[in-house]
């Protein structure tokens, strides 16, 4: 399992893993699409959808979190860039930073959640709270999944499993991680700024 798989010739020329990852991400688009569509239609159409005051939402902290996540995204892509140039150290360093930033995101979130509860915004308080905690919670689960995937890649990277020509799994982990980032980029304005 630790040896990189040899990539068989495929009809499309795209490795199975990569195509599979994109197909999976397409289904994730539909999943989040279903949630976000529900949010949008209820937000505009519901007769009872109170929006908390901006001060209660903690925009500065959420902005910081956005920065954390896009920075982690760039370090992830730099990790892939490093191994494609046969730079093992660069791969390990950038992956480690990515994982660290992922934990950082979760830490800020776990500070934010009790803060919101304290202000009376809970999952059952009203529709805003319900959607906020459901969607950010689901995104948080995806972050945890992404961190786990990245740690698996990091362990293998330290063992030296990836080479310039065999770094597909780094790319797959990257695709997933960027997607998590991408979802946050949409969630951030619709929950905090609008």
């Amino acid at each position: 399992m630790n040896q990189p798989e040899t990539i068989e010739e495929t009809v499309t020329g795209i490795p199975n893993g990569k195509l599979g990852m994109w197909v999976f991400l397409s289904s994730e688009v539909m999943l989040f699409g279903g949630f976000i569509s529900s949010y949008v239609v209820l937000r505009t159409g519901s007769g009872f959808f109170p929006i908390p005051a901006k001060e209660l939402l903690g925009i500065p902290l959420a902005t910081l979190n956005t920065f954390v996540l896009i920075t982690s995204s760039v370090t992830m892509v730099l990790a892939l860039d490093a191994i494609q140039k046969a730079n093992q150290k660069g791969l390990i360093r950038n992956l480690a930073i990515t994982i660290l930033l992922g934990f950082c995101f979760l830490a800020i979130k776990s500070y934010e959640y009790p803060h919101k509860w304290h202000e009376g915004i809970t999952i059952s308080s009203n529709l805003f709270g319900s959607f906020y905690f459901t969607l950010t919670g689901l995104h948080g689960l995806h972050v945890i999944g992404g961190i786990a995937f990245n740690i698996y890649i990091l362990v293998n990277a330290i063992k030296g499993c990836y080479t310039q020509d065999h770094c597909e799994r780094v790319e797959y982990a990257g695709l997933y991680w960027h997607f998590v980032d991408l979802v946050w980029v949409i969630l951030f304005p619709i929950f905090y700024l609008l």
Binding site: V41, T44, V77, G174
Partner: protein, 87 residues
Amino acid sequence: MKKTYLTVFGTLAVLTLLTVGVSYLHLNRAGAITVALLVAGIKVSLIAAFFMHLKFEKKVIHGIFYTALFFVLILLFLIFPDIGLSQ
């Protein structure tokens, strides 16, 4: 490539600051939504195109991914008139 990634990163950072800044201007509802969604759209496209290398991928991947986006839009735009406009 490294330079491209850092440029994209810089753009993302500026756009984030921009959208947060605009939100404090108290634009009218339509204006605020337009700006926020436009900025989010640009950011999403940048991440997908460069970080996920979608720009350089083959047509099969484009086909599947864009089909998903298309169906999400179908879902949103066909439910919206029914529930979103009920008030």
